[in-house]
Symmetry: D2
Subunit: 234 residues, 4 copies
């Protein structure tokens, strides 16, 4: 059995969803890996399940993160994502219950339990305050609170929503790390997320849809590093 | 864009579902690969998505087959299985709509279409005569007709069910290859499936739950080879 | 066991989805019922399951239509819609596999079979040509072919899409009645749908979101009557 | 807007699932209604949605309870169960997230919220301790904790599981009423459930599959009455 990697704050998440795969995902993952090493900072990089091995073989520092897993046991379960297989392949973390891939509550419970057994960090998503409180009780390692209601409206979560979700989750379980990553498309958004109290931030379309994804990713990560060093000084 | 590999009959499918993964799956896959080479016969081997790369790197002859994919496009789709990523990783084929992973009809249509675009062979499952007819119209490359109603009853499909589903599907589209793989647990079952007219057969628990999975797999495949050679003689 | 009511063409479908319920649904249903009687024309009216009895008690001519049912048997199935209960309550017809409520293929097969056993007319929805062909093989009584891809684009299906889906379905099973109801918001749209060959048409938001739903419904139905009488003349 | 009916303890739940419908459900509901009046005790009776109106018209005392609703708003939502329609039809309560009808967490949150807005009591099901804790935070009115893992094993929840779930839920929210209803098939089971601390109990197959459902229901309810009166004495 693996033990979970320790995740240090502030951390950064690069989440290419299904925008990148294969060689292009590998290339961006290697750029992220170099930044993680250079700045000694923790970066989670999400990949297609089928790309785990190639990216694991070519990187050392990033947290290889899948975008979903199923809380099944070894046995039947045709077509589902078996946690043991991920663990053996070197996966460090998994997203769960993303707004684009919502889970039945019972499935979410099992997925967190199986990930805990196998040393896979869990990043659970909630799209309302009520859901955030309920999921916090399940003790995932990281939580993301993005109001789905805002998706497509062009609005990011405002500071008060971020501050409230940070507070609500930490009241229930202060060990859960808070990721604020809704609508992060600039270095300024990275700064705002961390300065309002998040433990980590990250991006999807703000990175992969940019003209130069590696460059905007680098700028965002350097901002995280700058804030981390500022915190260290204090 | 890839083109589909040509699948020759009679073929054999090793489907470990979520019983095997990682090193154990790799080891059985290598044994299957050696048999495919030795006998010049087509063998499909299903794997966890995360195991595709390692098994692809270590084998040359087997058809690397995933147990599910989603008919999504490059872009959003957090946590789903992107066909492009599979194709670039060297996946040859996919199961779809297995009784343990049933799909909405609209999703099945998209999954077949995307697989066709990317050169991935499709193996679609139906659990009733009516469903078999409807799916046949969608022109997957291979069909499996297993009556879910019998699952857990200890009965395999009887010959008349196999013969009827073969007939029904071929009337609609004679190019679809028929896989009869329900309850195959002995060499005799392999023989029965092929002699009643299937283009291929295969097994799950009959192989992976055996004392020596590689040995029973070898025996089954040798029976397929024997029948193939008998057909060639005629 | 009930036998299915005979559905005469051209027919009209009033589909308030979840826009109307209770007294307001009842009131519009009564207006539709009066028009069905006055013009001796077949009108299907969709209702919330919980509203079936009140509307059945207050109307005589409309086809009481539910928006979904589940192909379950008497027994377990907590929270699902039992076909026997609908049949005993006087339901005449059901929609199945609507774009807003897509069904697994196996579930759709069972739902059509159970409806046939109980004398409930089936109206099955397809959102692509491929899906339309597959569903046609399942022999529902009525089919609706609306390209989901267009939903939200402000475009109704164009004439060529309507004509092609009518043709494709009738080639497979000429007994299936074709309902063209995508984006019907004016009397002109009703005319276009019927003149391009549909057996029926109808509306949702074009009626329920109008200033005077009963009035626009009446105008649309009078247009259907006019076309019906024109056909009779010929 | 309706206000919720006050639910007094100990209460009893008759849950015919999809075993009964129409006239037979009505008949048993009337028997339950007479017992509720005679003993001045609260009885919840679950019905098919389509049967709500007839049973509401014929009863006065039982809590008309549906087996599921969807947390949707008035508008689109073809085929889903609109809470407003239930409320107007006189529904008193709803089950949610039953093991046979599990819900995505986000859907469960919305369903509880909409029910609260409309005065519908919520009875939420959990199939593990972790799930029970998470759901308790969502503040349904009643909770049922049945370990799905035991279903089909012929075992009812043992006393320790009942006592633990009662405790776990009440620690989070002491206002939630606890229903223990797994495997209740005799008067003795009713007694055990209440004496180990449940606020209510009830049955499905123990009642509807009995030779004389009304008689076993009466015996069970009389036991609840006896325990209630015993509590009043103390």
């Amino acid at each position: 059995m693996n033990t979970k990697r320790k995740l240090r704050t502030p951390f950064f998440v690069v989440n290419p969803k299904a925008y990148l795969y294969g060689e292009k995902a590998l290339s961006l993952a290697q750029a992220a890996d170099a930044l993680a090493e250079k700045h000694d900072i923790d970066i989670l990089f999400t990949v297609q399940h089928v790309d785990v091995t190639k990216i694991r073989q070519a990187t050392e520092h990033i947290f290889i993160t899948v975008q979903h897993l199923d809380g099944i046991q070894v046995g039947r379960g045709m077509g589902y994502i078996l946690p043991e297989a991920l663990s053996e392949a070197g996966v460090d973390a998994t997203f769960l219950n993303h707004a684009e891939h919502q889970m039945e509550l019972g499935e979410l419970v099992k997925a967190i339990k199986r990930s805990d057994e196998l040393g896979i960090l869990t990043i659970a998503c909630a799209d309302s305050i009520e859901e955030a409180r309920a999921i916090a009780l399940l003790s995932p390692d990281v939580m993301v609170c993005e109001p789905t209601a805002l998706i497509g409206t062009g609005q990011a979560s405002d500071d008060s929503y971020k501050i409230e979700t940070n507070k609500v989750v930490r009241e229930i379980n202060p060990d859960i790390l808070m990721l604020q990553a809704a609508g992060i498309s600039s270095v300024k958004d990275v700064e705002d997320a961390l300065l309002t109290g998040a433990d980590g931030t990250g991006g999807t379309s703000g990175i992969v849809c940019a003209t130069d994804p590696a460059d905007i990713m680098r700028q965002m990560i350097e901002k995280v590093v700058e804030i981390k060093e500022g915190q260290a000084v204090k």
